[in-house]
């Protein structure tokens, strides 16, 4: 499923056998972003590329600075506290907020 919530698997699968010769749905029915006037597939391509760059940055082995460590400690503490509550209770709590 892509980020817009569309299931692409069944539609796309036949086109991946020989991708160089076939036409993908995104190319057949090219959607243009109404604001930027750029094909949506180009926006997605750049977004995916930025995602991959962000994944590389995420796995950077450099140690945290003291400031970053403080942020992470707080995030981890929140996550651990959250996991002491059942999913149902947490959903109810979030609805009430």
């Amino acid at each position: 499923m892509n980020d817009d919530g569309f299931e692409l698997s069944e539609e796309l699968a036949p086109y991946w056998v020989a991708p160089a010769n076939d036409v993908l749905p995104s190319e057949r029915d090219e959607v243009v972003d109404p604001v930027l006037g750029i094909p949506t597939k180009d926006l997605r391509l750049v977004d995916s590329y930025f995602h991959e760059l962000a994944m590389e940055a995420a796995l950077d082995p450099r140690p945290n600075t003291p400031e970053e460590q403080a942020i992470d400690d707080a995030l981890l503490a929140r996550a651990r506290e959250r996991m002491t509550i059942s999913p149902d209770e947490l959903r109810a709590l979030r609805r009430r907020r």
Binding site: N2, G5, S26, A54, I71, D72, M83, R94
Partner: protein
């Protein structure tokens, strides 16, 4: 983040998934996911959208909470918790960028014919340099997207594996298992093709890579 289009109420994850979330919620996961969220927040801001203070932390916190409640279902047999959280953050930031851009339409200061690829190259370069200093315009976004797409397709060439990766990216699909299922690439071929695309992307013209990096850095 819950999908507003999803009519089915979220189901609590099964006990084994809850255990896996607890086991994988470690200091390393927090550091890596927070760094990912920072980059995504920067990319959202680089697209010209105002972001709240601590948006990156909110992205990670919400993604983890959504996973715990089952609103962002995770299958531990499919990918690590880190990859899942990054996927949830990616989806949310993509949708928020899309939504905000469409609602800012009235304030766009360029005519339909005044798009990035029709602008003289020196203006494009200047716009992109300005953008790296935080002054983002729709022309800059167009220019950056057009240049990055052109260069990615150029460096990728005609290799079927790399092309398949790029075509998945064009459809917003980056998760390994999904890309492999769609393309028929096995694990080795997938890794080889993905690494090649990322390696080749380092051949992007230096000024363009600089702008991409500066745009992401400066928007924090």
């Amino acid at each position: 983040m819950a999908d507003p289009l999803d009519d089915d109420p979220p189901r609590s994850p099964p006990p084994e998934t809850l255990r896996a979330i607890q086991e994988q919620t470690t200091p390393d996961l927090t550091r890596n996911a927070r760094r990912y969220a920072e980059r995504r927040a920067q990319a959202v801001r680089a697209a010209g959208l105002p972001i709240p203070k601590h948006y990156d932390r909110e992205l990670l916190d919400d993604a983890h909470a959504d996973t715990w409640t089952g609103e962002a279902p995770w299958d531990p047999s499919r990918c690590s918790l880190l990859v899942h959280l990054c996927g949830v953050i990616k989806k949310r930031t993509w949708l928020e960028t899309l939504h905000a851009r469409r609602h800012r339409r009235a304030s766009i200061d360029v005519s339909p014919n005044d798009r990035g690829w029709l602008v003289a190259p020196d203006i494009v370069e200047r716009q992109m340099r300005d953008a790296s200093q935080g002054d983002v315009s729709p022309i800059m976004v167009c220019a950056l997207v057009v240049r990055v797409c052109h260069e990615l397709r150029r460096v990728t060439g005609a290799d079927p594996g790399r092309l398949a990766i790029l075509q998945c990216w064009e459809n917003g699909l980056t998760e390994r298992a999904e890309v492999m299922a769609l393309t028929g690439l096995d694990e080795v071929a997938y890794h080889r093709a993905r690494i090649a695309v990322m390696y080749l992307s380092r051949q992007l013209p230096p000024e363009l890579r600089e702008v991409v990096e500066a745009t992401l850095r400066s928007a924090s």
